[in-house]
């Protein structure tokens, strides 16, 4: 027994130098952004050797500090050896060219259902306010209601109150927060998302019914048309992503619930981050174009539909090749 212990300890002594070198190499790799190829190769080669030594050390001296330190070197090597080498630009190109069209294709049915839900709630909101005008107090603030009573929309003279730049920033940051929240609350079996979408539909329908009562619905539609196509489409997409998160938890299919949720979340966030870029575009339009009376209806429609078509082309994977080439070359 004591000779076995002695041979184990002499083995520990023999290997000590190798482990020290491996530990120092790991430290170098952690600290250097672009380590020399020799260091990387030496680290890769040492990985199986450290694994073998750790297996022996775990049996011979499971509670030893040396074993603990060896385990630390091994886990660090594991992390460094299997580190992804994909760059940010390559990831972005993969998102836009490959992931977004695939995910949007998979979510086609939920997007359609959410659009129908929004339309149905919009109609319900219209009917509610048209039949019971006092219910507008549920959807609009007192100052908005008073303004409409005087024949003015809350969007009139907006640029006299807030500059376009500030307006754009506050709009797109708010829209990004709302759409991401609408998606995230889908974790409550999709119910949170359905609630937010239905509520937004009710509000929009109710407000249109109220403004129509005073002959202002056309002006409101003119204000919305430049940014509304893209903004509403993104709301529908975020709703579909939220519902897919809920479905992954409620009906994970053949996957484990956690795996199904992780996949749905990973796909959903990829899609929503691309949507966020378009929300910035829509926010700029809403700040600079929508409240500016100098833009006639045809110009608003041209700008709004152009951004919307670009958005649809991105979802469908029909973007021209040049942007992808730019991404790849960077």
């Amino acid at each position: 027994m004591s000779s076995r212990r002695g041979s184990m300890e002499s083995w520990f002594r023999e290997r000590l130098g190798f482990w020290r070198d491996a530990g120092e190499r790991v430290r170098d790799l952690r600290q250097q952004a672009s380590p020399p190829a020799d260091t990387v190769l030496a680290a890769v080669r040492s990985y199986p050797e450290i694994a073998r030594d750790l297996a022996i050390a775990r049996r011979a001296a499971p509670t030893s500090k040396v074993t603990r330190q060896l385990a630390q070197i091994y886990s660090e090597l594991h992390r460094l050896v299997f580190k992804s080498t994909v760059s940010l630009s390559e990831e972005a190109a993969q998102w836009i060219r490959g992931d977004v069209p695939r995910i949007a294709g998979e979510l086609r049915a939920p997007i359609l259902w959410i659009t129908l839900l929004f339309a149905a709630s919009g109609l319900a909101g219209w009917w509610l306010v048209a039949s019971h005008p006092e219910l507008i107090a549920l959807f609009a603030s007192e100052s908005m209601i008073d303004g409409v009573h005087r024949g003015k929309l809350w969007t009139d003279d907006l640029l006299n109150v807030v500059p376009s730049s500030l307006l754009s920033i506050s709009i797109f940051s708010n829209n990004i927060a709302v759409t991401l929240t609408a998606m995230c609350v889908g974790v409550a079996y999709g119910l949170g998302t359905i609630y937010i979408i239905a509520l937004n539909g009710l509000m929009l329908g109710g407000i249109f019914a109220f403004t129509a009562e005073y002959g202002l619905a056309g002006r409101l539609a003119t204000f919305i048309c430049a940014h509304g196509f893209t903004e509403l489409s993104i709301i529908f997409v975020s709703g579909a992503v939220g519902v897919s998160l809920g479905e992954a938890i409620a009906r994970p299919g053949s996957r484990a619930r956690a795996d199904a949720f992780q996949r749905a979340a990973s796909d959903g966030v990829r899609l929503m981050l691309v949507c966020a870029v378009f929300l910035i575009g829509a926010g700029l339009i809403e700040g600079y174009v929508s409240p500016n009376d100098n833009y006639p209806l045809w110009a608003r429609l041209l700008i709004g539909l152009s951004l919307w078509l670009l958005f649809l082309a991105t979802l469908a994977g029909k973007l021209p090749n040049r942007p992808a080439a730019l991404f790849r070359s960077s």
Partner: protein, 229 residues
């Protein structure tokens, strides 16, 4: 709740990582929150002071002051976690790191996903949902971690990865050498009575005679002699 994350490796030997619980996570978060809040407030305060004193910024105050301050606060976590490979200053101080469930470094997408889900984790306030989830899930993961497939593990790189100098000692066993080494290292921090009691017990176990009446500095000398032999 699991205490270790066991990752199968192609070598056949599992990688074992110590999972960080709600305590370690909260500690890191509190440090990070203070750092980002302070930097953000400092930027805002400085910008507004410059504007008030000189009026040089004018209409650009929002872009030069408010927007960067907001961006610092909101983008602190995602940017630093990507740049620092799964760490932030707070996580570094708490000795924890974000890794994927297979023990690797998360990619940019995973970092973004876990940060987007802060929207849910921070509901209804004070990160209540996130904290509750870390207490209830097996790997102490918040919803953002579940969505991104990540976990937080202990990874203290402030202690350099070196092997103890006493480990190769030939006269006493490896584990005894480590015990003696640790006691010698901690000697100045321990109370004289306690360290003397520990030293006597250890020396008697290693069959060193005449320690009952030995003085404090004599005991330390005998321990050091064991390591130098």
């Amino acid at each position: 709740m699991d205490e270790k994350l066991r990752v199968p490796s192609i070598t056949g030997i599992d990688v074992e990582l110590d999972l960080a619980g709600p305590g370690g996570r909260s500690y890191a978060f509190v440090i990070d929150w203070h750092i980002r809040a302070l930097i953000s407030a400092a930027w805002l305060g400085l910008g507004l002071a410059v504007e008030a004193l000189t009026g040089a910024l004018g209409g650009a105050t929002v872009f030069a002051v408010s927007l960067p301050a907001g961006a610092i606060y909101l983008l602190y976590h995602p940017i630093l976690e990507i740049v620092m490979d799964g760490r932030t200053p707070g996580k570094r101080m708490a000795g924890i790191r974000i890794v994927t469930k297979d023990g690797g470094s998360p990619d940019v997408t995973a970092h973004l996903i876990r940060n987007v889900f802060r929207f849910v984790d921070q509901l209804p306030g004070f990160y209540a949902v996130g904290l509750a989830t870390t207490m209830l899930t097996k790997q102490s993961a918040r919803i953002g971690d579940l969505a991104a497939g990540t976990v937080l593990v202990y990874d203290n790189d402030q202690e350099p990865v070196t092997l103890t100098a006493h480990a190769g000692n030939s006269t006493i066993g490896l584990q005894q050498a480590e015990l003696v080494g640790e006691l010698v290292e901690r000697w100045p921090e321990l109370e004289p009575e306690k360290r003397a009691r520990l030293a006597r017990a250890l020396l008697q176990r290693l069959a060193v005679e005449g320690t009952e009446l030995a003085a404090d500095d004599d005991l330390l000398r005998r321990l050091e002699a064991l390591l130098e032999r």
